[in-house]
């Protein structure tokens, strides 16, 4: 039986095989949900799915695409928005 604090599924279970062929469960924190486009709701590409402490150590250029609305709109919605603005 797992320890009481691990009985709920708030922690992720990772099965790891030890050198002695014994399988052990490691409990890890779950990752946050995927970043979504603010208009269409699609998952954004190029935005990593990591816990805040890891996002903090990352470079800014690794956290979102380097274009206008990068990390907020998907590329299709960004194009549509730019066309609305300028055409």
């Amino acid at each position: 039986m797992p320890a009481g604090r691990y009985k709920s599924r708030s922690m992720r279970r990772v099965y790891t095989k030890l050198p002695g062929s014994r399988v052990v469960i490691h409990y890890k924190k779950r990752k946050p949900s995927k970043a979504e486009c603010a208009v269409c709701g699609d998952a954004l590409k190029g935005v990593p799915r990591e816990r805040p402490y890891k996002m903090q150590t990352m470079a800014k250029t690794k956290k979102r695409p380097s274009r206008p609305y990068g990390g907020f709109l998907c590329s299709k919605c960004m194009r549509a928005k730019l066309k609305e603005k300028n055409v």
Binding site: P68, M78, R79, L82, K83, N86, V87
Partner: protein, 157 residues
């Protein structure tokens, strides 16, 4: 659609949202653009044509493109090539120079007549003294050392 002189909006990549002119055509899919964007080859799919076509020569230089865009009230930021240390050192050096200029000339003009002759006299006097002092000390030390050595030899014998 993407003839030479066509005003376009770039809608992909880091230059997205910037306006540019088609300067030259490369092939069916690619054109050379310049303006607010970098001067570069660009896929036609990454461009949105606007309603204006400027009358320009084929392969216009960047400076002339900037002039043409100014007529259309599209201003292009002047890109300054900057080394990571370049502009800082220039600023610092400029500051240093100004500081030097402020500090240096004042004492020269004020103290020149008074200070110069004094400075000239001192160095003449000092080295002679030092030379005179140093030489006898060394000799004395050598003599002492030689005496000590001699004593040691005699004691050993």
């Amino acid at each position: 659609m993407f003839e030479i002189g066509r005003l376009c909006l770039k809608i992909a990549g880091r230059d997205a949202g910037l306006k540019c002119i088609v300067v030259n055509t490369v092939d069916n899919n690619y054109v050379l653009i310049d303006g607010q964007t970098r001067r570069r080859k660009c896929n036609v799919k990454h461009l949105e044509p606007l309603d204006k076509v400027l009358k320009i020569k084929k392969g216009l230089s960047h400076e002339d493109v900037v002039k043409e865009l100014k007529k259309e009230n599209i201003e292009v930021e002047v890109k300054v090539k900057r080394n990571k240390r370049g502009p800082r050192t220039e600023e610092k050096s400029a500051v240093k120079e100004t500081v030097k200029k402020q500090e240096a000339p004042k004492p020269k003009t004020e103290e020149k007549p008074a200070a110069k002759p004094k400075e000239v006299k001192k160095p003449e006097a000092e080295p002679k003294k030092t030379v005179v002092k140093k030489a006898p000390v060394k000799k004395a030390v050598k003599e002492k050392v030689s005496k000590v050595k001699a004593k040691a030899k005699t004691s050993k014998k």
